[in-house]
């Protein structure tokens, strides 16, 4: 396990940080929101493609070195700092990983170069209820003569309102809650029978409910073997949770930095409010939590790149810690800004709204605590 970035990863991090700072500030998100874009941002997608950010974990040729998930984590952390709405988590991380973990050679040859070039975007359609429960899938894919017919409903799917392709988790065997019997399907978002109902979400990133009504796909749409989709889904969701945790670390760091700056500028009773010990101690405790979460995220990213056996534990650790951290820091950011923190003109509210979405996606802190305990045998 390594906690020190390579020179290349370090450069990538700097590029990503500068890009987020200069082109994807919170004001950019605010402008998108006010224009009703709901997280859709074709120009940014184009710039991300030019920077090569979609292909960070995809080798130029088979077997070549990449920046790894650690590299992609740096970009996600950078975009987390400014709350940027980009397709990177769904496409550059989740879709690329899905093909790498379970795709056939033909699927990999077809899709990975397109992902790397930023030519196609994806959304993972998994959840069917208001809470993350990856095996609770009722959406059915029934075998027909030429392939499968899919029927079901997916809730709050990130990026589904602008993605070109969906990766739909459906049941080919058993019943909701069973680990066995899941399968992953590649479905064009504009396929016949797919209805995308766009959602306006609290974080201004948007999402969509997806209805699948007699959607026909060919056998070639299956990613990995039928019924055994959980073998792909488990590590895929671990990677998603780790990537999101990196983003959350960035959001927490930015909200914390903003709060610190306010503490060092705002005066009351003739004193900087940051000189009050009750606020100093709360800031110091947040900093300790930040440092600890940073270690967990770095360890999880590195474990994913090295294919470590304790990946599941570290993924749950990183997502739970990042969830608790971003919750704490976003709340304190509003509180310590006082009345200003309650206004739409200031930024703390943006961080708090995005934080709750980050916390809920791919397992809340309590979901991951439960899994951590299970993995530890109690």
């Amino acid at each position: 396990m390594s906690f020190v970035l390579t020179e290349d990863q370090e450069m990538l991090r700097e590029t990503a940080m500068a890009f987020a700072r200069e082109e994807l500030s919170v004001n950019h998100l605010r402008a998108l929101r006010d224009a009703g874009a709901n997280g859709k941002d074709a120009k940014t997608r184009q710039k991300l493609a030019e920077l090569g950010f979609f292909g960070v974990i995809i080798p130029d040729e088979p077997g070549a070195e990449t920046f790894g998930l650690t590299g992609l984590g740096q970009i996600l952390e950078a975009q987390g700092r400014t709350l940027a709405a980009t397709p990177l988590l769904q496409t550059a991380l989740i879709a690329a990983s899905a093909f790498q973990l379970g795709g056939s050679p033909a699927q990999q040859a077809e899709w990975l170069p397109k992902i790397a070039a930023g030519e196609v975007t994806f959304a993972l359609a998994l959840d069917e209820s208001a809470h993350f429960a990856p095996y609770s899938v009722s959406t059915e894919a029934e075998r027909n003569g030429q392939g499968y017919t899919i029927n079901g409903m997916k809730k709050f799917v990130p990026d589904a309102h602008h993605a070109d392709m969906l990766i739909v988790v459906a049941r080919t065997f058993g019943s909701s809650g069973d680990r066995h019997g899941l399968s992953l399907f590649l479905v064009p978002a504009n396929a016949k029978g797919v209805t995308i109902s766009e959602l306006k979400t609290v974080d201004s990133h948007g999402a969509a409910h997806v209805t699948l009504d007699d959607v026909m796909v060919a056998d070639g749409a299956l990613i990995g073997p039928a019924d055994q989709g959980a073998d792909i889904l488990d590590p895929l969701l671990d990677r998603a949770a780790i990537g999101l945790a990196a983003e959350m670390l960035g959001s927490s760091q930015a909200a914390f930095d903003m709060t610190l700056e306010y503490l060092n500028n705002r005066k009351q009773f003739g004193q900087l409010i940051g000189s009050f010990q009750s606020l100093q101690h709360r800031a110091a405790k947040m900093f300790v939590e930040l440092e600890m979460t940073r270690s967990c995220v770095a360890a999880a990213l590195s474990a994913a790149d090295e294919g470590k056996r304790d990946l599941a534990e570290l993924a749950s650790l990183a997502k739970a810690k990042a969830g608790e951290l971003v919750h704490l820091v976003s709340n304190e950011c509003v509180q310590m800004h006082g009345g200003i923190g309650m206004t739409d003109a200031a930024e703390p509210g943006f961080y708090m709204k995005r934080a709750r979405v980050q916390e809920a996606l791919y397992g809340s802190a309590s979901w991951h605590r439960d899994r951590y305990a299970r993995l530890a045998g109690f």
Binding site: M1, S2, F3, V4, L260, L263, N264, G270, Q271, L272, G274, S275, Q277, L279, Q280, H281, A283, A284, K285, F287, V288, E291, M292, T293, R294, S295, C296, A298, A299, E313, L317, A320, K321, S366, R369, D370, Y372, A373, R374, A376, G377, F378
Partner: protein, 401 residues
Amino acid sequence: MAYDNAEQLEEFRLETRKWLEANCPASMRTPMVDDEVVWGGRNATFKNPDSKLWLDRMAAKGWTAPEWPKEYGGGGLTRAEARVLEQEMRRIKARAPLFSFGLWMFGPALLEFGNHEQKLRFIPDIVKGKTRWCQGYSEPGAGSDLAGLQTRCEDKGDHYLINGQKVWTSYADKADWIFCLVRTDTSTKHEGISFILFDMKSPGVEARPIQLISGESPFCETFFTDVKVPKDQLVGRLNGGWEIAKRLLQFERSSISSSGFGGTGSLSPEEYAKQLIGTDESGRLLDGDLRARLADHRMYAKAFALTVQRQTEQAKAGQAVGHTASILKYGAAKMNQDRHELLIEALGTEGLGWAGEGFDKGALRVTRQWLRSKGNSIEGGTSEINLNVIAKRVLGLKDHQ
């Protein structure tokens, strides 16, 4: 990780492995038991004779202090080599040969601030475990506000004369020498403090153990009445002791946090909870609320361990974060206290015994350790003081104007 001399390092690893295999007695490869810990010193006791053998062999190579200069009896190893030694010791589960405030706190400070003669005189005996040191810092009126200390040290021409009282002096009743903060100028606060060394056998020194809530007496009240100290035992410059004191506190906080306060050896809180509360058919603890808090604690402990590892690696790569000692000391205290509260909760009435029959021996030990752990957020800088250090030195928050 890239070393310029990866080959040499590998060679060092093989040699070290061979040497450890040949020289580490079998009983020194078993988990440490409380009464076999070696603290060294003039009155050292070795309940297990192997522990003396192990100490002497390691000390002869300077490997009780692997990175200290050879000139003063240390191992003279590079950081990379010291890490290899540590890994190889861990591989065979070798015990630490010596526990010592000299190794953890005083030695590193003396190497940085002492003169050549002082280093030659004191460092080798720390490495060999021949001198046991204690720390004269806190006073009845100077705890968190350490710089308020009043123990007087007067210049009497050819010697210094010390009068005053220290408190919370760890193992003062067992130590041979003391490194001590004294007041050499009463007209100013921080700039009137000096750092001085003297023999605990000097006339006028008296140490009285303090009984704690845990029933143990690791700390003493220490009294100094007209104690004469030779002038060459002052470290650094007269009235320049505060800088040394602060640096030494960093070493202290680091050593406390890297040890995680010890307190292992008993079962984990999860194990006790499973035994005493029970699990459902899928193996989940029946008390769901306790289970969540146990998981939370386990995660905190893992995050803490990863942070120690990350900061060590980053320091090696020259990317040190300042004042990590305060961050880690704060986290270690919280972690250890949470762990012991969870242990006591999981044990239920099994954890409420004091002595004698009717209680599991391990549980009785946990009860004492739980009480002892309450000191973790007080000793070596309270948690509140550590939060102050983080707020001011790391985050740059200002004092009241």
